[in-house]
């Protein structure tokens, strides 16, 4: 009984200050052969005395770091601890000293660790929380998903992936670009697709589309839509401005684009790719809002020659809705010339709202893939007949224009569903 009362005084009434690796001062005092109580230490050798001092010093340091609050805490806690100890302990120190030792280290709820904000959270609970969070984010088979994600990150960091000869990186396009753009297609523009069956499932084809909307959102949305419905990647042909602009050049090549020139078009079509081309170019992209849905000149018909040379079908695509995402009021030709860009758009929101003005308006989009124009029935050398090339170009252009008018008639409102 005498021992039990004295030990709490040595630790200011706290049963133990153990770190888990070494026994607490209280436990050491209770253990047989350990540090004796303070009143008996006078007759003992000095070595245990030194350890007690060391422990005491350490305790003072911790207390001073912890600030005055813990001291106040310990003051009312001291009688509690004393009374609590006085209950079970009368027998303990005398007979079951090893048990007391265990208790001293095991009562982690009252060590200094509980002053840490995370002290009360056990690793297992933390793990359980992380597990449920992972389930929430990655779905029920989150372990496989996480493993796949980590493998993906590792491959990207070590360069262990393949790009094709145009610099196309299918992995990053599918996992990153298309995933990021998909909500835009389904939630923002609510794209309605028609005639997707006109896209061949495995052979080369040339998708020819109208171009509008100041920024080439229609191209990106075509890529997402075609990939989601057919699983194929559209390989866009871009102007040389795209490949001259830093960052855009890198992302375009990564996303599968290449330069709109006859060599690349021939090569891609001959390789069985699904090539996307927007023959209006900047004339279509940067036309004022008042000229919406009026097709501009279709370049020089180079895309038709490419399709004729490689005998691949031409799929006309009409996109309704992209004209309204940035209604362009003026193109500021002088400023554009200074900046070296084809046009500098002024819309009701841009540049007045700054970056916020670059958010496209949520118009409702319709995409219709038309009947493919077949080129394999034409005789050899058809690509060298300029009149035939012009005829096919006009046929495609007319088909897209008529579909646009029809879709506009069907559309009930610009922004409504």
């Amino acid at each position: 009984m005498g021992d039990a009362e004295i030990i709490p005084i040595g630790t200011r009434g706290r049963p133990g200050r153990g770190t888990g690796t070494t026994p607490s001062s209280a436990a050491r005092g209770l253990a047989p052969g350990g540090r004796p109580p303070a009143d008996r230490s006078t007759g003992r050798p000095t070595a245990p005395r030194a350890t007690q001092d060391g422990a005491h010093d350490g305790w003072v340091d911790e207390e001073s770091i912890g600030g005055p609050r813990p001291v106040e805490d310990t003051a009312p806690a001291a009688p509690d601890a004393a009374t609590a100890d006085s209950g079970p302990e009368p027998a303990a120190p005398a007979s079951e000293a090893p048990d007391a030792d265990d208790a001293g280290t095991a009562t982690s709820g009252t060590t200094t660790a509980d002053r840490h904000p995370l002290g009360a959270v056990s690793p297992a609970e933390l793990m359980a929380a992380l597990t449920s969070a992972a389930k929430e984010v990655l779905g029920p088979d989150w372990e496989d998903e996480l493993a796949r994600l980590l493998a993906f990150v590792r491959r990207r960091l070590t360069g262990d992936y393949a790009v094709d000869e145009y610099g196309f990186d299918p992995e990053v396009t599918e996992r990153f670009f298309l995933t990021a753009l998909r909500p835009m297609a389904s939630k923002w523009f609510r794209i309605e697709v028609r005639g997707i069956e006109n896209i061949p499932t495995d052979s080369g084809a040339l998708i020819v589309s109208n171009h509008s909307g100041t920024l080439p959102w229609d191209g990106l949305m075509t890529m997402v839509t075609v990939h989601d419905h057919t699983g194929r990647f559209v390989r866009p042909l871009g102007a040389d401005l795209v490949f001259r602009t830093p960052l855009v050049a890198q992302l375009a090549r990564m996303g599968g684009a290449t330069l709109a020139c006859s060599e690349d078009a021939d090569r891609m079509l001959a390789g069985g790719e699904l090539v996307g081309v927007w023959p209006e170019g900047f004339k279509g992209l940067g036309k004022p809002y008042s000229e919406r849905y009026k097709l501009q000149r279709f370049g020089r018909g180079g895309f038709v020659s490419a399709a004729l040379r490689t005998r691949t079908p031409i799929v006309p695509l009409s996109v309704v809705g992209a004209e309204e995402i940035y209604p362009m009021l003026s193109s500021m030709p002088t400023l554009a010339r200074i900046l070296g860009v084809p046009y500098f758009p002024v819309t009701p929101l841009f540049p007045w709202l700054g970056p916020l003005g670059m958010v496209p308006l949520p118009s409702k989009w319709l995409m219709e893939f038309g009947e493919p124009v077949r080129t394999d029935e034409l005789e050899e050398g058809a690509a060298d007949d300029p009149m035939l090339v012009f005829d096919v170009t006009d046929q495609v252009r007319e088909s897209i224009q008529q579909t646009l008018y029809r879709l506009l008639m069907e559309r009930r409102s610009v922004f409504g569903s």
């Binding site: 690793p123 297992a124 609970e125 933390l126 793990m127 359980a128 929380a129 992380l130 597990t131 449920s132 372990e143 990207r156 960091l157 070590t158 360069g159 262990d160 992936y161 393949a162 790009v163 094709d164 000869e165 145009y166 610099g167 990186d169 040389d240 490949f243 001259r244 602009t245 830093p246 960052l247 855009v248 050049a249 890198q250 090549r253 990564m254 290449t258 330069l259 020139c261 060599e263 690349d264 090569r267």
Partner: protein, 351 residues
Amino acid sequence: MGRVVLVTGVSRDLGRRFARSLASDPEVDRVIGVDVVPPRGDVGAVSFVRVDIRNPVIAKVIAKEDVDTVVHMSVIATPGTAGGRHTMKELNVIGTMQLLAACQRARTVQRLVVKSTTTVYGASPRDPAMFTEDMQPRRAPRSGYAKDVAEIEGYVRGFARRRPDVGVLTLRCANVVGPHVASPITSYLRLPVVPTVLGYDPRMQFLHEDDLFRVLRLGAVGDERGRATGTVNVAGDGVVVLSQALRRLGRPMVPMPGFAVGRLGQVLRSAHVADFSPEQLAFLTYGRGVDTTRMREVLGFEPGFSTEDALADFGSTLSPTLDAVLAPAQAGAQQALDALGRLVPAGGTRG
């Protein structure tokens, strides 16, 4: 019938090693290596003749030795080794002119193989993805190595017209890499921290040094298919982008605007660490790819190393810069993952 082969540019490593391997070929009687300065390494059975190809003496060598095959490898890419751009141009262009003039006189010459480079295609945002042999650069090169090579190819074509009985083969080789190659691109990739042009990720093709020797040998003394004439692109299969190549080599990259890379290149050039010529900077910005259909169909050559393999072989001799940083981080991540793995079942059952 044994052959007598004249190889120019043997003072440099690639030329010397090619000449040496050719000399050990049973089909070849003699190999004569010529250059302005003696080769630094072992040339084996090659008889070295110290002669400046800018000098008509080369004609005497060809006539005296009854040379029937000429392999022209002394087109140099960097002014650094020659001592200035002016000397480099002299060596490249005037040297080739003299050599071709000598070959035209020599009745014994039956075959000429010129090692050219894909640099002649230039690099610009208006390039097609893959150049075929009949494509021209979008903008004619106006300076440096690319202009030299374009002029050399012009003289070679002129020679082929004047001597239709000589089989002339021009090999446009992609960037040659390998454990022993010293070239602008290898010194660039060997930098401990590699500056790249911000916002661009150029496509690149590589040719392994062993494949270069094989294709030169095929062109010089190969069988019937190797007797092909004309211009042929030579490159390993596949394409890598620069960021990917640097990650594979374990080289950290520092993207910076193009003009800053150019300025840094000048500093590095004056420190003789790496060479950034304007055409090299254009290549590091826009990249380039060449079509190798003709290499397979006309020349019948199959590279032993793809672009990726060549890069890996080159990288095997490099000590990755990132290892010092990456290894502890990787070990730490592995430990954390292991700990996570141990905790997962416990957490799973409790949660």
